[in-house]
């Protein structure tokens, strides 16, 4: 019996296998040139053919060496299933096929003694999304007429900033009118969908720039006051000094990346930023901290972040903070005062069993300076993380958002610290529906990240396709700093498509508001939601319908 090397990684161990048809291949070489993972290569194969060219059989054996495209097999150069080879092939000669019997997860770990890292989202979704089990079931009829989505004027703005209780407003009555006798916390009224928060570094500068262009266009040409959160990776100085800064929410996270430049640019700022977002945690890989691997730290990333070319870890916690109260006093006060209390400061945390405690605590903060509570669920995407964190840690967003809202209602403080929710919203390609439902459950607005990448052309999905954001080899130029790969991304086209998506979403939001008769955002209108799933209905305290 023949021998074999059992422990060596082999093609049938891989998640994706290349299906290649020699007969259709013209050996143009495009697939090999396009694959950023070096998962395929040109090679030769020996072919043995028995032929007979006589009337009677006179078999002769012919050996030929033929050129082929071969799949590479290894722990580093393996196919991610991104399908770029199929896209560039003029003859449909090659494509990746999912290997249902893959053993890659065990091979990788057993060979390299290293936690497997990847990007994307949690890949272990086993059932239908909660939001898809919820419908808008209260439709205005008879006594409460529906609105006309095309003709009615809708007022769709959400607060970013601390809202005081009415009885603490600094109002005096003078000549029968209210006048302000002192300042109130700064509140910016913005579109209820924030683009965020993905850093330059995690994203290619072209992708980041495309989003910034799209956001500026949405504000200045379309009339939608959409804001974009910078992520923690710095901001180009040119943008910091431009009038477009007002559309950007600056993020500060535990690595403080890029803040030297931001602080140095402050005297030159023409406009104040749209807000500050302190990132404590994120929905994907919560507790694991951000990760930018050295291979993505190109020279411009080093500069903008002010760091050497090395693996950049945002620690899972802020090293100087040991309690919620301390975070309020240190970070919120210092960032508020840095911009003279003219820029609202909000906080982003990972959805967690403890989110409600944190939110309760912040709601009771006596300084009234927490300008928003951003809760991020486990279905959010990420540029790089340990797979174990991606797949096995985190908390779904829907019930957690609801819990936070209910906690605020219980305290009678709903709306005082605006709730913003994210984590897999728009994963079914319809952000308007998800945003609407989250608002009805209590969110003031939502934020979206991964969907922007998918609009731009990200080919990854939540079933293990591509998910190579961590490699620096993003095949579509979105999550890479590789000068050749980033050129695959058309900045203007990407910006245009993001703008188009927002315009469509805005129309679709109105299509949801009109039937329930709302002309403003449906925050807290859970009475208009029903669920066809008993458990979901009970958990969220909405009507069960069947």
């Amino acid at each position: 019996m023949a021998t074999m090397k059992v422990n060596q990684i082999s093609r049938d161990d891989l998640d994706w296998q290349i299906q290649y048809n020699t007969d259709r291949c013209t050996f143009c070489g495009k697939c090999v040139a396009a694959c950023p993972f070096r998962a395929i290569e040109a090679g030769v194969e020996k072919r043995r053919k028995v032929i007979s060219d006589h009337f009677t059989p006179e078999p002769k054996v012919q050996f030929k060496t033929v050129p082929v495209i071969k799949q590479c097999v290894g722990e580093y150069n393996f196919c991610r299933g991104c399908g770029i080879c199929e896209r560039v092939c003029p003859n449909e000669a090659i494509k990746p096929v999912r290997n249902e019997d893959s053993r890659f997860g065990v091979k990788y770990r057993a060979t390299l003694a290293d936690p497997y890292k990847r990007g994307g989202r949690a890949n272990l979704a086993t059932e239908k999304r909660t939001l898809d089990k919820i419908k808008v079931g209260r439709i205005s009829q008879m006594t409460d007429p529906s609105l006309d989505a095309s003709r009615h004027t809708f007022d769709m703005l959400a607060p970013f900033g601390r809202i005081l209780p009415a009885d603490e407003m600094p109002f005096d009555v003078v000549d029968g009118k209210l006048v302000m006798n002192s300042a109130t916390p700064k509140v910016n009224w913005i579109y209820p969908i924030i683009v965020g928060d993905m850093s330059i570094g995690a994203l290619s500068w072209r992708m980041w720039e495309a989003m910034a262009i799209a956001v500026a266009y949405l504000n200045e040409q379309v009339g939608l006051p959409v804001r974009m959160c910078s992520g923690e990776g710095g901001v180009p100085v040119r943008l910091l000094k431009s009038r477009y800064l007002k559309y950007v929410i600056l993020q500060i996270a535990s690595g403080h990346f890029g803040w030297n430049r931001i602080i140095n640019a402050m005297p030159h700022m023409q406009e104040l930023p749209g807000g500050i977002l302190i990132k404590i945690g994120q929905g994907a890989k919560p507790g694991d901290g951000g990760l930018l691997q050295a291979k993505k730290v190109a020279s411009h990333i080093s500069e903008i972040r002010g760091v050497p070319k090395a693996d950049l870890l945002s620690p899972p916690n802020h090293q100087g903070l040991y309690s919620i109260e301390e975070s309020v006093q240190k970070m919120f006060l210092s960032l508020n005062s840095a911009f003279k209390f003219q820029v609202p400061v909000a906080i982003k945390v990972a959805a967690s069993a403890t989110s409600v405690s944190v939110y309760n605590n912040l709601l009771r903060d006596p300084y009234n300076i927490v300008g928003g509570f951003f809760v991020d669920g486990l279905a959010g995407g990420t540029g790089a993380a340990n797979e174990i964190s991606l797949d096995h840690t985190g908390h779904p967003i829907v019930s957690k958002l609801r819990d936070c809202y209910n906690a605020a209602v219980h305290q009678g403080k709903q709306g005082q610290i605006p709730l913003w929710a994210a984590g897999g919203l728009g994963a079914n390609w319809n952000l308007a529906a998800d945003a609407f439902k989250m608002m009805a459950l209590g969110a003031n607005g939502v934020f979206t990240g991964k969907l922007m990448l998918q609009i731009a052309g990200c080919v990854g999905n939540d079933h293990g396709k591509c998910n190579a954001c961590n490699t620096g080899l993003c095949p579509v130029g979105i999550c890479t700093q590789n000068p050749t790969l980033v050129k695959r991304l058309d900045i203007d086209k990407t910006a245009e498509q993001i703008v188009n998506y927002f315009i469509a979403t805005d129309n679709e939001l109105k299509k949801m508001l009109a039937p329930i008769g709302n002309s403003s955002l449906p925050v807290g209108r859970s009475d208009c939601l029903i669920s066809v799933d008993r458990a979901v209905a009970d958990r969220l305290n909405i009507q069960y319908s069947c």
Binding site: S140, T143, D144, P145, L147, H152, T153, D155, L157, P159, I163, L164, P165, A166, D167, M169, F171, V173, G176, K177, L178, V179, M180, T184, V187, W189, V409, Q411, G412, Q414, G415, I516, G517, N518, S519, S520, V523, G524, R525, S526, D527
Partner: protein, 368 residues
């Protein structure tokens, strides 16, 4: 659909006026009940302006429960009156055993108490009586306030009028302000507390239409003040918002309109007072009104007003003469009880105004 009506006059008027006002609109409502609040009382109550009047409908046990609570708190009875019951066969009414209108003296310890302490005491006692009556299902307490009477009953309004002998004018049972409605809460359970008008600390409100922001309003209001309870009707929210804005926050009345139907962001931005308007919208967004509604309300000083939601509206018309103003869902109500008025002066309230009638019967239109 509800039909609502309100009469404010320089003269004392009898509730039969309110019955006539409402019965003429009976094709528009379902005749499932009758409720009214009388304020600024005349007749047998005219001499007790400063003393609180308890309005309740209850069993014999309920009377005892209330009297025990009042006695323990130190209240003493000054006068009690019950309507003359006119029982006839075939009346569509579900009467309670007792209808109590009791005038009481404040406890002696409150002799020199400031007004707000007395007011809080009245709310506390009413809530205490209400809770006690609910525990044993012995009745309903509608108001406990000086110079105010409330009557609510389930049944056909015409028959309710007959039962309480309200069709017969009576100089001893009058008021200068009467608000009324002829419908129970037929969308949900029929509960006496759900019948408009609603009353709290001198404020009265009644409304037409559906409060589609009921859940938002209720969730916010239930933590604002101890008296914001019940919520048997989605329209109670309108009263509580009015009370909160005007009584608790002490904001001028026009900010009630700015709270319930804020101007669109773009419109507010153009105004000088945009900072105030935006702040109000930010802090009280949960009290917005989505419509479709028209609201009639009365303030403690007797000012009466009407306003609507900002986009869907509900029918309402205001007519007036030199000594009487009437707000009615349908003009037919006005024609019935104010046939002599100049109908060209009738006002159909628009989505951005409040029509305010002061004690001199001057009718003002406040534009938002």
């Amino acid at each position: 659909m509800c039909r609502i009506g309100a009469i404010k006059s320089k003269n004392y008027i009898h509730p039969s006026k309110a019955l006539h006002l409402m019965r003429s609109q009976q094709k528009g409502h379902d005749n499932s009940g009758f409720a009214m609040v009388m304020q600024d009382l005349g007749g047998r109550f005219a001499n007790y302006k400063e003393l609180p009047i308890l309005s309740m409908a209850c069993t014999d046990e309920g009377v005892k429960i209330a009297e025990d609570i009042l006695h323990e708190a130190g209240f003493s009875r000054v006068m009690q009156w019950s309507p003359e019951i006119n029982e006839q066969a075939g009346l569509k009414i579900e009467p309670m055993p007792n209808y109590v209108f009791q005038v009481l003296h404040y406890p002696k310890s409150y002799k020199y108490a400031p007004a707000h302490e007395k007011e809080e005491l009245l709310v506390d006692i009413r809530l205490q009586i209400r809770e006690a009556l609910e525990q044993t299902n012995d009745g309903y307490v509608y108001s406990f306030w000086p110079d105010v009477l409330t009557l609510k009953e389930i049944g056909d309004p015409t028959d309710i009028g007959t039962y309480f002998n309200l069709w017969q004018p009576d100089e001893d049972f009058t008021a200068k302000i009467i608000t009324a409605q002829c419908r129970q809460n037929t969308n949900y359970d029929i509960v006496r507390y759900a019948a408009h008008p609603f009353f709290l600390e001198g404020y009265t409100a009644l409304a037409n239409g559906e409060n589609t922001f009921y859940e938002k309003n209720k969730n916010f209001q239930k933590n604002l003040y101890k008296g914001y309870i019940g919520f048997e009707s989605d329209s109670q929210c309108f009263l509580y918002t009015l009370h909160y804005i005007h009584k608790i926050l002490k904001w001028p009345l026009q900010y009630y309109k700015h709270t319930i139907t804020p101007l669109a962001y773009d419109d507010a931005e153009k105004r000088e007072d945009h900072a105030i308007l935006q702040n109000i919208r930010a802090v009280l967004g949960n009290l917005e009104l989505n419509g479709p509604n028209t609201i009639i309300a009365v303030l403690p000083d007797g000012t009466m007003f009407n306003t609507c939601d900002a986009k869907k509206l509900r029918p309402v018309v205001i007519g007036h003469t030199a000594d009487t103003a009437v707000i009615s869902s349908e003009v037919t109500g006005l024609n019935e009880i104010l046939p002599e008025r100049d109908w060209t002066q009738d006002i159909y309230t628009n989505e951005r105004e409040m029509v305010v009638i002061n004690n001199n019967l001057e009718v003002e239109r406040w534009q938002q």
